[in-house]
């Protein structure tokens, strides 16, 4: 957890990604986190090494008739941090369900 303070907000973002919500607006919609804080949280978590990001394959996106998405996923440290978050804020586990098939892909 390099340089990141585990807050409820951080925990919720990590949990959303663990559940398969993997890009900005999806996470925003799933968590219902106040607008304007999700992106900074994603940037912070990426800089801290808890998340990594990857651009969607172009062919895949074109097939779905949209621009490629930027996907976020937990790193090993990210998964540890997710565990910590769940033990500290057990309520997080019940805030939202798993992502749809579309979001869970990749």
């Amino acid at each position: 957890m390099a340089g990141i303070r585990m807050t409820y907000l951080t925990g919720v973002v990590l949990h959303a990604i663990a559940c398969g919500h993997r890009y900005g607006f999806d996470i925003m919609d799933a968590t219902g986190i106040p607008d304007g804080t999700v992106y900074p949280a994603l940037r912070r978590l990426t800089t801290a090494g808890l998340l990594e990001s990857k651009w969607e394959d172009k062919a895949e996106a074109t097939a779905s008739q949209r621009p490629p998405r930027k996907y976020y996923r937990l790193t090993t440290e990210g998964r540890d941090a997710h565990e910590t978050a769940l033990s500290r804020f057990p309520g997080i586990a019940h805030t939202f369900g798993p992502a749809s098939a579309d979001g869970a892909a990749g």
Partner: protein, 875 residues
């Protein structure tokens, strides 16, 4: 199809991307555009988006701005800041001359501002050191007929206010007094006050020791109690707590010490002890006897305006009840803090304004230096841009440099402020209301920090705008960095502004200096050289009879006059520049009865030879003589001003006037006018009569005319007095010239400070002119070389450069003259016999400033004329 709302959203994302850091920009835009497209395109394809959808789309796109700002903030990590700072420091150290000049300029600007702001803060902005200081007010009577705003109250009116005013939770009265403290140590005259016991309630300050006297002490016979100030207790009683309950010998009577007040209690500002005030029968019966300073505390929640309204109704009621004395009097309620700082307030704001000008000039100068440097660096900046640094990166670097300069300058400026403040306080008669000290506190530090930061940003912006305008790629292609005409115009504009600001300051300072010179040149009307003064006051308890006082004065004049080296010894109740001693005068045959409308005259009881000894010229009749004693006919000598007001065109000799005690006196002589109320006030009608025909028990001044330095005779004079009465306190010892000079010390202090700022402004402005001209010559090297190759002589080239400087100088002088015509009015009230638009001062300053500007550009001009045309062309 892309809907309009989506187009707006895309535009917002693009703007946000511009805010995002350089390296992030492409990725940032791609991610956000994908998100927006993903979320909204499908709906849009189905139909045009609904209003709600459009709003939501635009709202979501606005979040990209938050994201961009966050990324931008992340960039400013401690690491990157350290890197920037280190880079800035290295880059500044490569040019030590430039850096030292810039830092010194900022340090002087910030230092001068911090020092003056410290004074303004301590004197004007800090609240008085009492609980709820805003509730403290002074209550003045207002003489509507004569237009006097601040007349002290009379005893009966005070009692009426105390009884009926509901706006005040407490009200107290004060009369200044001095006490002769005698006893074990050397006798001393101590400034103090007679006060009503309620004064301590008004200020609501707990005593340090003991309990101040209560209302029972404000009664004749019960008033032998005294409260000591913290300062007196420390100095005279060695901070001994056992002083409470002891008895002091004051004016020959025993007073019991009942309390010691804390350091913060300082009212009136010079008072060191407070005794109970007892209204005399005469005071209680005479509503025309205005002597009482009144201080009150507003009732909680009452405003000054409300209190003013209530006191006005009280004044109106008193006016109806006592029309003879009160009909023409109103009441004024003034906040105590502003009353205590009235004398210095406007001058301090003027000084703060002046020093603000100095800071502006310093900023303009530094901006100029940075501009010159930025143009010199345009190649360096272009290379860095070519290597991938964005404009924002370069701007950040430039701002870091200027902020670093400002920071170092600010810290040094704080040092300048400490030193300057010490020097200023050593020179200045400033006092802080409530007895505090002038010191640099958190407020001052905060203001300095903000000032420094603003300075850094303000002058840092100049090179930044220049970078923004420069085509960096284009510069790289050129052999030599050239800057556009806009940059040159900006620099010229800055120099013109500097000259204009400096001119305003120099004009202001010139007016003040001239004003002080006029004050010192005032003809006092007497020979003031080599005169030693000492004041004393015979206590009524020890010298109850006038005969005893006269005997003491006679003996003192005899013994003091016998001191070897003393030419003459004389006495006067009041000596210039002191004022006071005004009494009503009745001229026989003109004024039939005693009324309040009688004219007043300054009245001095003197030794018979005082006027001769002081060299006051005799105009008509005779001086006072040794034979004018108590059983001889009563005589008086008047001055020319008295004759002019009461006997215009007549011979006053032999006429009778009545003044003190209603004794008729015959005018036997007319002497020249003596300025008797500060140096700057006109002489008013004055009368002199021999003390042998009416001895005052009050203050007397002994004057010794000496052969040589008056100060050498201090000891002998003290011995002469103490040989006659070892318990008599002596004050105000010093030469007459010193005292006259002291009376203009506040004006001199202001003039010295303003001159200092003006000199600072002038030096900074000349550095600015020099910098710009030197740079211009450098920039035009090839052109000048070409001109010389084509036959222009050295004189031509010098003329060319000087003409350019002259244009700037004249521009600044014209602008500055216009500004000073408006701004010097601010100091009008501080000027004595000098017009704020004094044409001589303004033209001398204007010509002088042009001269300074030309001298400053002489070096670059000469350098230009010595150019080697061949080398200049090759460059």
């Amino acid at each position: 199809m892309i809907s309009r709302s989506e187009r707006i959203a895309q535009w917002i994302v693009r703007c946000a991307a511009a805010i995002a850091p350089h390296g992030w920009r492409a990725e940032f835009a791609r991610e956000w555009e994908a998100e927006l497209a993903e979320r909204f395109r499908p709906d849009v394809e189905a139909a045009r988006p609904t209003g709600a959808q459009s709003v939501r789309l635009i709202y979501r796109s606005l979040l990209s701005v938050v994201d961009a700002l966050h990324l931008r903030a992340q960039e400013f990590t401690v690491d990157s800041l350290t890197r920037d700072l280190r880079f800035a420091a290295r880059s500044l150290l490569r040019r030590p001359g430039f850096t030292a000049l810039t830092v010194a300029t900022i340090a002087l600007g910030i230092g001068a501002n911090t020092a003056i702001f410290t004074v303004v803060n301590s004197v004007l902005l800090q609240p008085l050191p009492y609980p709820e200081p805003d509730e403290l007010v002074m209550v003045w009577e207002q003489d509507r007929v004569r237009g006097w705003e601040r007349v002290p109250g009379n005893a009966e009116d005070y009692l009426a206010w105390e009884e009926s005013a509901e706006s005040f939770s407490a009200i107290g009265g004060v009369v200044n007094a001095t006490f002769a403290l005698t006893g074990d140590q050397s006798p001393e005259r101590i400034p103090g006050a007679r006060v009503t016991s309620s004064l301590f309630d008004v200020f609501d300050v707990a005593p340090l020791l003991g309990v101040p006297f209560g209302p029972e002490a404000n009664v004749a016979g019960q008033d032998r109690q005294i409260v000591l100030s913290h300062g007196l207790w420390e100095r005279r009683f060695g901070s001994d707590p056992a002083v409470i309950g002891t008895t002091l010998d004051l004016d020959g009577s025993p007073f019991e010490v009942v309390a010691v007040m804390p350091e913060s209690f300082q009212f009136p500002s010079t008072a060191q002890m407070w005794a109970p005030l007892v209204f005399s029968e005469a005071q209680l019966q005479d509503r025309n006897w205005h002597f009482l300073l009144t201080i009150a505390r507003l009732a909680p929640g009452t405003s000054v305006t409300e209190a003013q309204a209530e006191t006005e109704t009280i004044a109106a009621r008193l006016g109806q009840e006592f029309p003879e004395s009160n009909a023409d009097y109103g009441l004024t309620v003034m906040p105590l803090h502003s009353e205590m700082t009235n004398a210095v307030r406007s001058m301090l704001w003027v000084l703060l304004g002046a020093v603000g000008f100095v800071l502006l000039i310093a900023c303009a100068n530094v901006a100029n230096l940075l501009l010159v440097r930025a143009s010199g660096r345009s190649r360096e900046l272009s290379v860095r841009a070519a290597l991938g640094a964005g404009k924002s990166r370069l701007i950040r670097q430039l701002l870091t440099e200027s902020l670093l300069l400002a920071l170092v300058g600010g810290v040094l400026g704080l040092g300048v402020a400490f030193v300057g403040l010490d020097a200023m306080l050593a020179l200045s008669p400033l006092t802080v209301p409530g007895g505090g000290t002038v010191s640099i506190d958190g407020w001052v530090l905060g203001a300095t920090a903000i000032g420094t930061l603003l300075t850094g940003i303000v002058f840092g912006l100049a090179p930044v705008t220049s970078v923004l305008r420069t085509d960096l790629q284009g510069t790289l292609r050129e052999a030599r960095g050239q800057t556009g005409g806009g940059n040159r115009r900006l620099r010229s504009g800055l120099v013109v502004t500097e000259i204009a600001l400096a001119l305003v300051l120099v004009t202001g300072a010139g007016l003040m200096v001239q004003s002080v010179r006029q004050m010192l040149d005032v003809d006092v009307g007497m020979n003031t050289g080599d005169v030693l003064l000492a004041q004393f006051s015979l206590p009524a308890a020890a010298y109850p009879q006038p005969e005893e006082q006269v005997l003491f004065y006679d003996q003192l004049i005899e013994t003091a006059g016998a001191i070897p080296g003393v030419v003459s010894a004389s006495l006067s109740t009041i000596v210039p520049p002191a004022s006071g001693g005004q009494y009503h005068v009745r001229v026989e045959g003109v004024h039939e009865a005693w009324t309040m409308d009688l004219p007043v005259a300054r009245t001095r009881a003197v030794s018979h030879d005082y006027l001769q000894a002081m060299g006051v010229p005799l105009i008509r009749g005779r001086y006072l003589e040794e034979t004018d004693v108590s059983d001889a006919p009563f005589v008086v000598v008047v001055d020319q001003a008295f004759v002019d007001s009461h006997f215009p065109g007549e011979d006053p000799i032999g006429r009778q006037i009545r003044t003190l005690l209603d004794t008729p006196r015959e005018i036997v002589g007319v002497v020249g006018n003596v300025t008797n109320s500060g140096l700057v006030n006109q002489a008013g009608p004055t009368t002199y009569f021999p003390y042998r025909q009416h001895a005052f028990g009050g203050g007397q001044t002994l004057l010794l005319r000496t052969t040589g330095e008056p100060e050498l005779f201090v000891r002998a004079m003290q011995e002469a007095i103490w040989n006659l009465d070892p318990n008599l306190p002596i004050t105000g010892v010093g030469s007459l010239e010193e005292r006259l000079a002291d009376s203009v010390s506040q004006s001199r202090f202001n003039a010295v400070l303003l001159s200092l700022f003006a000199v600072l402004a002038l030096s900074l402005a000349s550095v600015g002119i020099y910098g710009v001209m030197a740079y211009t010559v450098n920039e035009r090297t090839s052109e000048l070389g070409l001109r010389m190759a084509l036959g222009a002589s050295a004189v031509d080239v010098r003329g060319l450069v000087l003409r350019q400087a002259a244009v700037l100088a004249v521009g600044g002088v014209v602008l500055g003259t216009l500004a000073s015509l408006g701004l010097t009015r601010v100091i009008e009230s501080f000027l004595y016999e000098v017009e704020p638009t004094d044409p001589i001062t303004i033209s001398v300053v204007a010509v002088g400033l042009c001269g300074v500007a030309l001298v400053a550009s002489l070096v670059p001009a000469v350098r230009a004329s010595r150019l080697d045309p061949l080398r200049a062309l090759r460059e």
